[in-house]
Amino acid sequence: MNIVVCIKQVPDTAEVKINPETGTLIREGVPSIINPFDLHAIEAGLFLKEKSGGRVTVLTMGPPQAEAALREAIAMGADEGVLLSDRAFAGSDTWATSFTLSKAISKLGADIIICGKQAIDGDTAQVGPETAEFLNIPHISYVRKIEDAADTSIRVQRIMDEGYDIVESSIPVLLTVVRELNEPRLPSLKGKMAAKKAVIQKWGQADIVADENDVGLKGSPTQVKNVFAPEARSDRKILQGTPEEQVDALMQELMGIKCL
């Protein structure tokens, strides 16, 4: 079974702060990590490999530095890593990213593709399903349990608004996974040695035979107009006086609008 796990190197958004004066992000000292949901995707890939045999290939798109994320995945037990890196890929939105990944996955050949449910820097959860559409294969989102996996079909639990569905799919299939699915393993000593020695394949636009109009900024239908800190509410009122006076003023306001 050929298993491809798509991962992303992201800034640890929990560490990002905002400069209150300029409203811009302060990223100094913010570490780059493997997107936390993707660690669960890697673990799921290794689980399936141990169960049914096969190979786990980790795939990422990013700058040359993203190679570190692939080596980390190999240290966890993945067999090989492929880095999609090309200046032509810069500025990709979810459409262009998914298209690029799908080209690479077609070239690799895969029975099961696993992604984290979303990346913590973008929070879109769109790249998995879009990639499946480009590959013309089914996908199942928000997988919280793999109940059974055979050569031709897989049965999983997917989270819904009021519980979960048990869903069966034919293979090939793409899954996006949530944290509940498993506990990602730590890199082993043997894994770390393998990660050091591993040869990471690097593919650019020419390697995946993609049209320049379909990748990077040119292939991205969306664009960011601006980023901003939220504005103040127009009806806001900062109460004045001692704590007791402020509480009294609040009580009066609330009584006035009859909401208590």
């Binding site: 800034p11 879009e130 559409e133 009021e162 960011v224 980023v227 939220p230 509410r233 900062i238 509480v247």
Partner: protein, 396 residues
């Protein structure tokens, strides 16, 4: 690159280097240089004191006639035949956008009855595309996306909205991929740009650290998923008339099968999302014991207990109480934020509340920008006072 540096103007001050959230700007020969990290977030544009960073405008793709696309569509999801509340919220914002564009509002409904479609009209739709096909009664990504793709191809709406729910976020990306258009995830605000008529799609970015406005200027339809419990429902009108158009479901295929649907709802999730009043505590509590005060106030008001991410990360309260980007989105009548600084990632989970009361020691805390009423003070002084006075008012 999405942005370029005017090397004549660049003074090498490195302001932009520090501002870039993805380390995409480096210095080369004393001038800024954009590398392949760039995600086109445009943050640096406002930072450069010299105006030396320039956005590269894309040209419209050949062959897409934007004017051929008309009307606002919303996807109305249902589970077991019952229309989800997000559908009514989408009709609320969809009606507003349609009116602003001087166009009409249509809903797309799969696997439900004509009676359900009629409800969508009363809530603001001019037209409902309804497929009653059995294959669509249960949600599966492939037939849902195939049918919506064929409807969009045939009728060419300019805007398509769906809920940012497990259903919407799962199958709508397939539709956008196939149609080759942009899709903006989990929007918390939508407006029409008066100058261009484009849809301004506003959403939290970078883990909810900041807001971003996203455009899809050269492709149609403009597609977005919308966060539940953020948009207000529209007006219900018993006498409102509209048309229901029956849609066939031939030639749909499906390689997934739902074997079983299991209900499993945590009480606290329901409490938080249905509560009229929520009292939330954050890092400012300083101590997990502070939640007993929060709890007391919440009980007195008949409300639920929420928290910020900081309080959850500190281990003071379980994650299921968390409000914000990675927690629940809530929309109560009154939201009382105690010792919560008001990071964007929290604000996006509660800013649609009707009345927001902020209690915080720090007068500079961003929570006061979002608050209807702000009390600057020590919550350990303010909350007991508030509790006492509420008891007095209630005659307890």
């Amino acid at each position: 690159m999405p942005v370029i540096i005017n090397r004549d103007k660049c003074t090498g001050c490195e302001e932009c280097v520090a501002s870039c959230p993805v380390s995409a700007i480096e210095m080369k020969d004393g001038k800024a240089f954009i590398n392949e990290y760039c995600e086109a977030c445009m943050t640096c544009l406002n930072v450069c004191p010299e105006g030396a960073i320039i956005e590269v405008q894309k040209e419209a793709r050949d062959g897409t006639d934007l004017k051929a696309y008309k009307g606002v569509w919303i996807f109305a999801e249902q589970r077991a035949g019952k229309i989800s509340s997000i559908a009514y919220e989408l009709l609320g914002i969809g009606r507003k956008l349609a009116d602003d564009r001087g166009t009409d509002l249509s809903a797309v409904l799969f696997g439900a009855t004509e009676a359900a479609a009629g409800e969508l009209i009363k809530w603001g739709a001019d037209r409902v595309y309804l497929s009653q096909d059995q294959m669509l009664s249960q949600f599966n990504d492939e037939p849902y996306s195939q049918l919506l793709i064929s409807l969009i191809d045939r009728h060419k709406p300019e805007i398509v909205l769906a809920g940012a729910t497990p259903i919407g976020r799962s199958f709508i990306p397939r539709v956008a991929a196939r149609i080759r258009t942009g899709l903006t995830a989990d929007c918390t605000s939508l407006q029409i740009d008066k100058d261009t008529g484009n849809l301004l799609q506003i959403r939290p970015a970078f883990g909810g650290n900041i807001m971003a406005t996203i455009l899809c200027p050269n492709n149609r339809p403009q597609m977005a998923t919308v966060r539940p419990r953020v948009m207000k429902r529209g007006q219900y009108d018993e006498n409102r008339k509209g048309e229901i158009i029956a849609v066939g479901a031939d030639a749909l295929s499906c390689r997934t099968k739902v074997l079983e649907t299991v209900k499993e709802v945590s009480d606290i999730a329901v409490n938080l999302q249905e509560a009229n009043i929520i009292v939330s505590g954050g890092r400012g509590l300083g101590d997990p014991k502070g939640f007993s005060l929060i709890q007391e106030l919440a009980e007195l008001l008949g409300g639920a207990v929420g928290s910020s991410r900081a309080a959850v990360d500190a281990g003071w309260i379980p994650h299921r109480h968390q409000v914000g980007q990675t927690g629940k989105t809530v929309c109560p009548t009154i939201y009382i934020a105690c010792g919560i600084s008001g990071a964007v990632q929290h604000l996006v989970g509660m800013q649609s509340s009707d009345i927001i009361i902020a209690i915080n020691k720090n007068p500079e805390a961003p929570i006061f920008n979002a608050a209807t009423f702000g009390i600057v003070g020590d919550l350990y002084e303010v909350l007991p006072l508030l509790i006492r006075k509420l008891k007095e008012a209630k005659g307890i």
